[in-house]
């Protein structure tokens, strides 16, 4: 295997995300190896956090990832509250939960759209993103920004969900519920999608455990983990909801898990809106004592883990972040190898690596060691396969 590959500029695809770079080695139609190069997006966030004081860090960690922009601050405030033993008002817990679940909804819709695009269903892409918009409007209404909500704060939340916000929020939820119904029908009943996604990119239970994948990727392989239930934070233990598990481990199962999780999210938000008590939204925070704290949160892609150590000053002296995609992306190494190239795109996309890294894929013919395909071609191949199946 030769590594004399220059990163092709072509793979920069409009659907891109952090510049991760996959090298796929193929023999004929089969993917024989895969190499993952990351690090283009390294910003040194942990170090930046150490130079900010405790309140500012929430903004920095929010900008780790634009899609999980509540999960990271959520885990961070959990960690600091664990460290300083802060009692958070009940209402704040409910508001945090609502925001986190809204984020899961918008993230899963986003993924669904992109997955649709990759197998040639551009309509699904457009529709899924269209139904995301009412949700973003609600975010804007509540927090003032469409994407970075800045709601989390040590000891509570920054903004309240006022009574007049609730009817439009419920209306948006109804709309999304209908949309999810539609998507569920489209995925469950379409024979082409079954043919495309079933048995593709299988990650068995043992492999999932061995590669320590988290979140929907693990739950689709039958691994029963969910931080929201296993170590409840926010208001999750005051609410009635279930963890969605599938056994098959293929791309289809991952899709189904995400779709069903959207229903759960809608259920959680509705219950929260009804049960939310009146009262304060933040606790007064005194000095942060020396010590260490951990916090986690279930992001749309899996468990986010934050560790904070304080020495009694107003800034953390160590801050460690563990994000879910880091584990999930590595599992592509088993899921994608042995697949045909046209299935590689959707397999790589199925772990929802923040959204899709496949546009940085270059396919290398192992024997001649030259670039024959790039991300665009891969998507085209993948879409063509769907068209062929559809005609049949």
């Amino acid at each position: 295997m030769s590594h004399k590959v220059i990163i092709p500029i072509g793979p920069y695809h409009p659907l891109q995300e952090e510049p991760e770079f996959f090298k796929l080695f193929v023999e004929g139609e089969k993917v024989s190896d895969i190499e993952i190069v990351i690090g283009y997006n390294h910003r040194g966030i942990e170090k930046i956090c150490e130079s900010k004081h405790f309140d500012q860090v929430a903004f920095v960690v929010e900008r780790i990832c634009g899609i999980c922009s509540t999960s990271h601050p959520f885990a961070y405030v959990n960690a600091v509250e664990d460290l300083a033993q802060i009692e958070v008002p009940e209402r704040a817990l409910f508001i945090r939960t609502i925001i986190a679940e809204m984020e899961r909804l918008h993230s899963h819709l986003l993924w669904l759209g992109l997955a649709g695009h990759f197998i040639g269903y551009n309509t699904v892409w457009m529709w899924a993103w269209r139904y995301r918009e009412p949700l973003l409007d609600c975010f804007e209404m509540i927090s003032g920004n469409r994407n970075h909500y800045a709601m989390m704060k040590v000891g509570g939340v920054r903004r309240d969900i006022l009574d007049e916000y609730i009817p439009p929020l419920k209306k948006a939820l109804d709309e999304i519920n209908r949309a999810v119904d539609m998507f569920k029908g489209a995925v469950m009943d379409d024979p082409v999608i079954h043919a495309r996604l079933k048995g593709i990119g299988v990650l068995t239970y043992d492999q999932a455990v061995e590669w320590s994948v988290v979140g929907p990727t693990a739950r689709a392989s039958g691994v029963d983990i969910d931080v929201r239930r296993d170590d409840p934070y926010g208001a999750y233990n005051r609410i009635d909801w279930t963890v969605v598990i599938r056994k098959e481990g293929d791309v289809f199962a991952k899709t189904v898990v995400r779709i069903l999780e959207m229903y759960e999210s809608i259920r959680i938000i509705r219950q929260c809106l009804n049960k939310m008590p009146k009262g304060e939204i933040d606790a007064e925070v005194k000095d942060i004592p020396p010590g260490e704290g951990i916090g986690h949160a279930e992001a749309p892609r899996g468990e986010v883990f934050h560790y904070v150590r304080s020495d009694g000053t107003n800034r953390p002296i160590r801050h460690k972040v563990r994000a879910p995609s880091y584990m999930n992306v590595a599992s592509n190494k088993i899921a994608a190898v042995g697949q045909s190239i046209s299935d590689a795109t959707i397999t790589l996309a199925a772990v929802d690596p923040c959204y899709c890294c496949t546009e940085r894929v270059a396919v290398i013919d192992r024997f001649r060691n030259r670039k024959i395909l790039d991300g665009w071609d891969l998507i085209r191949l993948s879409q063509e396969k769907t068209y062929k199946l559809r005609k049949k």
Binding site: P14, E17, Y40, G44, I48, V60, G66, R130, H148, Y355
Partner: protein, 142 residues
């Protein structure tokens, strides 16, 4: 106005580059421009897959040491005349990552930038407004 500049004001083809060091929210908002609510393809604005086809180089994110080289190379490959658009606080001046050890310099110290769209992330409307202003500016140069 030269023919080339005139052609530049019609149907902008955009090459979107996330130069790393971003949180990708700007990228999502740019994609949002393509989806039904904003749908900039109505105006002939299209995302293309290769810089060699593009009129506009749209950059998000703050430079990192690993990606700065590539940004420079891409800019050199862009057909001229073309415009460079920086979207989001990160691309404007490294934003919140300014104090990081891996973000060497603001984008416009590396390559010339024609249009700055501030915000974290800017709203899609802001991006459309920015592009409209830019087109007017190019036209006004006649």
């Amino acid at each position: 106005m030269s023919l080339k500049l005139k052609a530049l004001t019609k149907s902008l083809w955009v090459f979107h580059l996330c130069i790393g060091g971003s949180c990708n929210n700007c990228d999502i908002e740019i994609l949002d421009l393509l989806t039904p609510r904003y749908d900039v393809e109505r105006f002939g604005i299209m995302l293309v897959g290769s810089i060699r086809h593009a009129d506009v180089l749209l950059i998000t994110g703050s430079l990192t040491y690993k990606s700065a080289v590539r940004a420079k190379r891409l800019y050199e490959q862009m057909p001229k005349p073309g415009v460079v658009v920086a979207v989001g606080s990160c691309a404007l001046g490294r934003g919140i990552f300014k104090d990081g050890y891996n973000t060497p310099c603001p984008l416009d110290e590396l390559i010339p930038v024609d249009l700055y769209i501030p915000g974290c992330p800017p709203k899609p409307e802001a991006m459309i407004a920015g592009i409209v202003k830019l087109v007017e500016k190019v036209k006004g140069k006649r």
